[in-house]
Symmetry: C5
Subunit: 350 residues, 5 copies
């Protein structure tokens, strides 16, 4: 979370309209231009948008920009397609929350791709998707292969190609949302494993694991809630770009998001439950440790005192000279022990 907030700082007090990428993506920028009709598909890599020119026909065009290191790329294509300055800023400022906005002639969607970094922490990549008539524009921060299977399906599947840009737009958002399930699945596995440890042998590492899980869940919940609004807007048919047929499919995505929110809330409940259980297991263990200490102490403390008494060096000490003194000492010790054991049993500690 702090990564994002830090990067917001970069743009504070810049005059509005300044294009500056606030993320940390470092790789080379890549532009994949795909043009297809139901029957044919053609794909090539562009170095920059200077090579690009608009062709007005009935084919569908997908411009997939990977890497935002060069903000001027966004500026170039925006000029060609008359994209609003605020949209350009939002594409480059990765601190956006998922949202969909309708501008004059196009839909602008910000989504978040969630993935596990190599150090095991969750991270996000901002993916902006624009639907402009028969054209789809996507901007990804990293080269994480998020849309690789879409590129492949486009080549193989006539059914995907025949419905044009809107179907592609749907497939891209569906792909981003479906990916959350995989992340949740992985978190679910982690919860199961922590839960097993908790019931078998609770130790201090569990605390860290639960804390880590809770942060991950907060992290993903913060993405799911605005995604819920995004998909709900698309499903309700608020936008003229979305026809009734595809609305049904967005309702399906919406259902998935709702379900994932349910799962996240359930997981949060489970984590809280695990924390409570851990806390009280610590209390129970302290209690048990104390019991053992108290049992030993209450039994041996009086006995040790007694032994100390008969170790005193008084000259006039009648018991010491008595023949059965030592025997009596063990007798008294036995009685004290028996009495203490009975006392501790009554307390339920033995």
């Amino acid at each position: 979370m702090s990564r994002e907030i830090k990067n917001i700082g970069k743009t504070v007090n810049l005059p509005p309209g300044t294009l500056q990428y606030t993320g940390e993506g470092e790789g080379d920028q890549l532009i994949i231009m795909t043009r297809y009709t139901e029957k044919s598909i053609e794909s090539k890599r562009l170095k920059s948008f200077e090579e690009f020119s608009m062709v007005e026909d009935d084919s569908t065009l997908w411009l997939d920009v990977i890497g935002l290191k060069n903000p001027e790329t966004v500026g170039e294509i925006s000029e060609i397609l008359h994209i609003h300055p605020l949209v350009q800023e939002d594409i480059l400022n990765i601190a956006q929350i998922p949202k969909v906005e309708e501008y004059d002639g196009y839909l602008f969607t910000v989504t978040k791709n969630v993935f596990f970094r190599e150090d095991g922490f969750l991270d996000t990549e901002q993916i902006s998707i624009l639907l402009i008539r028969n054209m789809v524009l996507t901007f990804q921060e990293y080269d994480t292969d998020s849309f690789k299977h879409i590129h492949e399906r486009l080549k193989d599947s006539v059914s995907l190609r025949k419905h044009g840009a809107l179907e592609l737009f749907y497939s891209l958002i569906d792909s981003v949302v479906d990916n959350y399930f995989l992340v949740l699945e992985s978190i679910g596995d982690e919860i199961d494993s922590v839960e097993d440890k908790l019931l078998e042998n609770p130790n201090k590492d569990i605390l860290g694991s639960i804390y880590h899980l809770k942060r991950e869940l907060v992290y993903i919940r913060n993405i799911l809630w605005p995604t819920r609004n995004l998909t709900s807007s698309l499903a309700r048919g608020e936008f003229v770009e979305i026809d009734e047929r595809i609305s049904l499919y967005f309702r399906d995505i919406y259902d998935h998001v709702i379900q994932m929110i349910d799962i996240v809330e359930t997981y949060r409940d489970i984590c809280s439950g695990m924390l409570d259980t851990y806390l009280s297991s610590v209390g129970s263990k302290t209690n048990e440790v104390m019991k053992i200490l108290t049992i030993f102490s209450t039994i041996f403390i009086p006995l040790t005192f007694l032994a100390g008494v008969y170790g005193m060096n008084f000259i006039y000490f009648p018991e010491l000279n008595w023949k059965y003194g030592y025997l009596l000492f063990w007798l008294i010790s036995g009685l004290i022990t028996a009495f203490m054991i009975r006392f501790l049993r009554k307390k339920g500690w033995l």
Copy 2:
């Protein structure tokens, strides 16, 4: 919960429209076709929908499909009845939340049957119910006899048969919802038994039981909330398929669901209360153990020191040679003990 989320993973990145059952039901598939009018009823088992053909008359038809191992069955009947691909997917993808959706000419309902597995954990079975004019289609995951009594009542009760498919549709949903009461009843019994243990003799197992109860309640709450929306939609008369007479009956189911949600929330409150009580009883017990230890220690530690003193071997040690030294020792010990007991009494520990 993790079972469901895992199975979602199976369908991620499959092209939309692929039919794949995501559950774990293993038994043979069974199709029971029942055709009835007010006066007559006829029931037979089909091997597949290839044997099935539409007959247009005023009888009511119920196709009850048990087991989803063969997804192609869903495809076959869907083709005959023109069922939307998304509905087909939802029937087979058991990770749906309870919902009702209106399609062109039919109502599609997803419900969840809740039952206790043999290992004592709650599990769910997805039951999809379609109402298509004078036909009802049901898809169950397992052969759990969920609708056995409906099959029987159909044979015996004219009143159920005479109102056609809508009355059957209502009876099926009523049956699923009523079943939740039995599960809640069983959870209520468990709560009572844990509560008794808690007040009599709280031990570590209680923690596990409360944790288990809480997860069950989260589980069932996650089913009840969307069921609330489902029944509310049916009761409000949002759908042309539902006439005013039967709306009243759905309002009755809706009332039941509301009441069950109340009960679940009450149970959650009770569980939290039991956890608090357990936690503070652990604290109280530690406190009591410490008190005993402290009482024994504070009384005997000074006495043991005194005995140690008179056990020293100094050559010039006046008290040792004094005739009443030993007597004096017991006197001083008695005084110290009396003083300590008074001190502890003032503290309220004795």
Copy 3:
């Protein structure tokens, strides 16, 4: 709560329309028929509704049925008055939540009378009230004198009689709701007494008392919330049976319910506060006990060691033979004690 949920179980999987009382009321059934105009009043006991026949005049009729042991009674009167089968079921199935429903020609209200059982636990009795033109029908589970003062006021007060059935309907609901105040008053007294104990001398029983109070508050809150909706519907003039004049009076009841909900929430806050206070008082006490133990131990443990040293039997042991050895021992002991006391004072434990 578990009582109610258990009784729901009784009716699960019964065909709809079966009349079965799900409560535990055992006493004989009693039917009190009261017929009155502004000027006259006549009251008699019926054995069953077979003795009853409708008379169409401008008098007001109140049929007060006490005890639901014989469900057929409900059936008989329902047939005469054309009452919907769902209403009949609701009257007999005591697991209803308070509600008001409008049927064709009559209003159906379910309310809950709350009282303390002899064992000190809260219990409820379901009271159904029907307003049918100039007739009021009430069904009570037990003979708890809930409406005794209404019967009496009817005899004495012309002002109550002159406004007919609607005024009676209002008075009955007012009486049920007013009764909640008495229950809350009693809970308030209990809270005050627990609070006093908590501040004076917190012991283990307090935990049970707080737990008990919390369950009672959950119990009554579950009745107040739906009662809020009930009275709000009646106050808002949603029903043609309720005229504007009496709406004002229902707004008054509604205000009372809102206020009681406030009180219940306040009481719940107070109970949580008391629990926190109890918990941390346990922690404080353990802390105090530990402090005493530690003070005694840290002072005497080094001294006892020293005494032990001079109790050793080494032959070559210079100090033992030294004349001022014993004196020195006490000197060193005094120094150690002084040092320890200073150390403990710096810690703030003495």
Copy 4:
């Protein structure tokens, strides 16, 4: 809170329309009649409303009734001004929540004046304000000088007099609400002082103070929330009696109430935070106490054992006769101590 709920009990089961004061105000009743125009003002004390008669001119009339011991006073003036019986009851039944209601020809407002009792607890006084054309009627429970400065400003300020009854009505409500700020200020001071103690030297009294603060905040919150609705209704111009000019001023009061609710919620958060801090400081202190005990015990327990060994009286005991035995004892003791100190250091306890 319990004071109010007890007094509700008084009116339960009384026939509606019975006038009975449910509060505890005991002082003599006082009626101050003030009649003023922009230019002149005249004020006198009435003994009862028998001396009062309506004069129809363009002057403004304020009847300020202090003390409700004689409920018949309310009845007398109500008869003259045709005030609804429910309003009369509400004036006398002090268990009302703040509200505004419009009746035929007049506005009825219930507000609560909050003050600290002499024992330091919060208490409330119910103040009812009626706006009847060019007349304002106020009923206060106690003679707490709540409106003293209004009486004074009326005499001094032409600007207050010139706008008639509506301006007076506004000023009275403004005065009641402004008073809450003073109470909140006092609570804020208390919080600051508890916070200081908490950070310096947390002791058991803090727990009581926090508990006390929390109850006060619950108490005042329960008054602020309905006051919010009251002022919102007046600001939104729901009532014909309130013109647009004065609505703006009520919006100002509304803003104040919203802000006070914010402050109360913040204070509650702070109190919860202080409780958490206190609780964990208790835990930390116990931990520290235990550490000291453990350090002393682990160092001296082995040494004391060793001393005990060499204090044994076996006849065949080689070390005792060895010349350097005693020296060796101190050497071993030194080694053990060094080892233990290293061990404890590694644990981070020294």
Copy 5:
């Protein structure tokens, strides 16, 4: 928070309309008058508004008042511009919550500038912004350079100058809101640093840090929530002064505020998680300390008792005279130790 509430007290019971500054700003008052068109800009300092006179042309005028020590300044300019008395009060009473209000011919906005005081605590400065046709009026409490960069950008940027007063109004609000990001960034850094300490070496200072962070978050949340309403009103185009073009930009600010609220809630969650973690780490540490104490005690207490026994001075003491007695003692001691170690291992404490 308490600073603000205290200052509210100052104005309680003052007659409405009295102008009194309730803040603590002490510096000299400064009025910067800036008049600009797209092409030219002219800026000068006024001593008071007596030097000021209205000029009706198409230039834009910005009056920036810094310091509110002299409330009469507000009165003077208000008279010239016909500003409502309530607005004048709100400018001077710094206890306002952020809000926007439309008056006849102008928009009145209250915002809060948040900054860290020198002692590390958060503080706020109230900034009121009025938009009156082609004029913007700002009132700041302190000379904190909040708008310094706006003054500079005005001089440099034609694009800011060419859109007139509305663009300036937007830039000022944007600047205030952007500043919150910097504060959140700083809080985020603090959270990261506390989190690191918590995982490495949790100590008592952490508790204070978490408590401090929580209060800061409550503080800023209380400003963000009303700011959300403020920007939402401006974005929704509720006001005629705001045209559609600039609404888009306010929607952008609104998005930022929503995102900051998300961040604050996330931070609060994290703080709660850190508190839980700290609390249970204290419990774990006490447990560990106790374990060490118990291990040492349970091993050495029986041994010390044994040594004590053989230190007794009974005359008839067979073992003492036995040749292998001393050897046997060590043997028994070894056995006891072995047994205790095995016992403790089984408990999992070694």
